[in-house]
Homo-oligomer: 265 residues x 3
Amino acid sequence: MRPVITLTTDFGLDDPFVGIMKGVILSIAPDAEVVDITHGIRPQDVAQAAYAIKSAYAYFPKKTVHVAVVDPGVGGARRPMAAEYDGRRFVGPDNGIFSGILGPGARAYELARPRYFLKTVSGTFHGRDIFAPVAAWIARGTALSKLGPRITDPRVLDSPKPSFDGNQLKGQIVYIDRFGNLVSNIDSDWMDRCFSGPGNLTVMAGKKKIGPILTSYSQARRGQCGGIVNSWGHLEIFCREGNAAKCLGYGISETVAVSRERAKP
Amino acid sequence: MRPVITLTTDFGLDDPFVGIMKGVILSIAPDAEVVDITHGIRPQDVAQAAYAIKSAYAYFPKKTVHVAVVDPGVGGARRPMAAEYDGRRFVGPDNGIFSGILGPGARAYELARPRYFLKTVSGTFHGRDIFAPVAAWIARGTALSKLGPRITDPRVLDSPKPSFDGNQLKGQIVYIDRFGNLVSNIDSDWMDRCFSGPGNLTVMAGKKKIGPILTSYSQARRGQCGGIVNSWGHLEIFCREGNAAKCLGYGISETVAVSRERAKP
Amino acid sequence: MRPVITLTTDFGLDDPFVGIMKGVILSIAPDAEVVDITHGIRPQDVAQAAYAIKSAYAYFPKKTVHVAVVDPGVGGARRPMAAEYDGRRFVGPDNGIFSGILGPGARAYELARPRYFLKTVSGTFHGRDIFAPVAAWIARGTALSKLGPRITDPRVLDSPKPSFDGNQLKGQIVYIDRFGNLVSNIDSDWMDRCFSGPGNLTVMAGKKKIGPILTSYSQARRGQCGGIVNSWGHLEIFCREGNAAKCLGYGISETVAVSRERAKP
């Protein structure tokens, strides 16, 4: 069975960087299947990358090696890292890029053994020189414990948490997808805990009333906005056959609030 | 021999959606080879997707499973579908996305058996929850007839047809590629039937005379526009080493007309 | 072991062209592993493609077949070509796209045997009709000498070379990557020959003083520009966690100069 290696970067697809990483991987692990998660992370936006990997990793087979390289600190003091969690492996800089994933039970290691790197390590492209070759060696069976000493304090991003005042559950937009859907940090767990489920809930975004939480896009009229629990279990504001970000003029960090709909008198 | 699965969507490459579908496929059919046709379909433009798949499908090996997901009706009443035609298989929503392909001889089935889906089916991402897993099961050998009941009335898009008045063959621009080439709905079959071949034909686009139909881009001078039968057998307006869409200021639906060139007196 | 075929084109990813080439390849060489180097070359920019392939090719395993199609002369007089160099194979138009690679020791052949092409060869898409199938046949073991006669005068692009006046090494920007890094044609060999290494050197770009050559991005302050020898061994102007092309307002062809830093009195 072919080992699977995924790539998530901010390299874009116009330069040869991603292709070069694949060449390095195939030179070491010729039977690896390399899959792109995305290379369209905004340059140096570690938080967006963390969100993408968190959403995607568990849909891949166990033993998959997920490589993530959004690495503004390349060549500096940040540690290169490999980790294991939930049967998958993760390789990238220790800069918080895996903070959505590495919970209790994760084991992380610093990449400290140059024998698993390319012979020459540049100061600017560790994706090619360190992360791709290490991922390939892991795919070939190298144990993580061989790569270097344990990391017990991996970097975790400070991410905004929703808050509940007994009446209103308040969160914010944390991701906007290509369709202009505004994804909030309010997930179904939060709604379950605060309201025992999404039934009869109503959504506000910024100062605008969006309406009840629907269960499919087609429940809204064309051009109308609505709330929905999206495919990652997060509350999302959409516009049917339109672009909610553009329609509403909202972006990352905009407030989203959920409350119990009042019965009309 | 590895089964081939292709993907055509409007998901773009900046979000993790496409990677997630590949993870789902590899979890079910680990030896599948997944190939992107394009993920750059304009959001919700089913007609553009239909055109892309029609142009590409036959260049893939027999047994290839072509998955297409441009799905504004996701979670609503439109049926999920699998079909067989010309030795290839097709998986996607029954919204006309395969109307360029599914002619007489096609057999289509509704996807009605949740055992071939992911355990939880969201209301917003059937690419992940239904179409990817079904494609993987087909690639593994599941017969289409096991997926659900026959569909005898698959949705077909209304697409503009050329017209001929005995003198002029009139069509319109239906696709514009990245080079700005303006692809019309007039194909060589139409020209053969109306004029017995493309010899001595002259092309108009909108109100501008383009000139004779050439057989290679290099027959035009740099910056000059010309007509050509393109690699899909369609009449196309190009600008040599330039962008015809920009030069001419024309877009989708602009008129294109072909007529016999008059001998000069 | 699966043969590896890479693709470098200016086709973009919004049209089905790249997918079609992969379909053709897999129809002939079903076990080939097809890897994208980039499809984001600016339309018809052969020099940019040459640069991308030169930077990437050697990171792939020996025997890899590198296909490059930026081909403004398609259908015209330029010869289709295959070549061998440094254990890799190269397939594309003979228009200078491999001029960064094909040094002494390269053997090049004209593609003159239609039995290795698709049955019908269009005038507009040799990527599909000639280059993809030839690459697949090479991957399957066809010797290059079977493809056609030797080419002894492959086209080579005129590329700007740095100059040294005994004091200042002058070059220019030849590539700008997605991060806005300005890559010059001055490589470490040039700096070694002119100054015996990069120590104590100072960089100018246009009329602006950039400063000393650093060894990692993190040595600059946030938002500050610096010089660095990049991962391809070229002198590059970067802006830490910013975009040097935008900050400095510089583009392709802008002057870059290196000189020995004077000790302050």
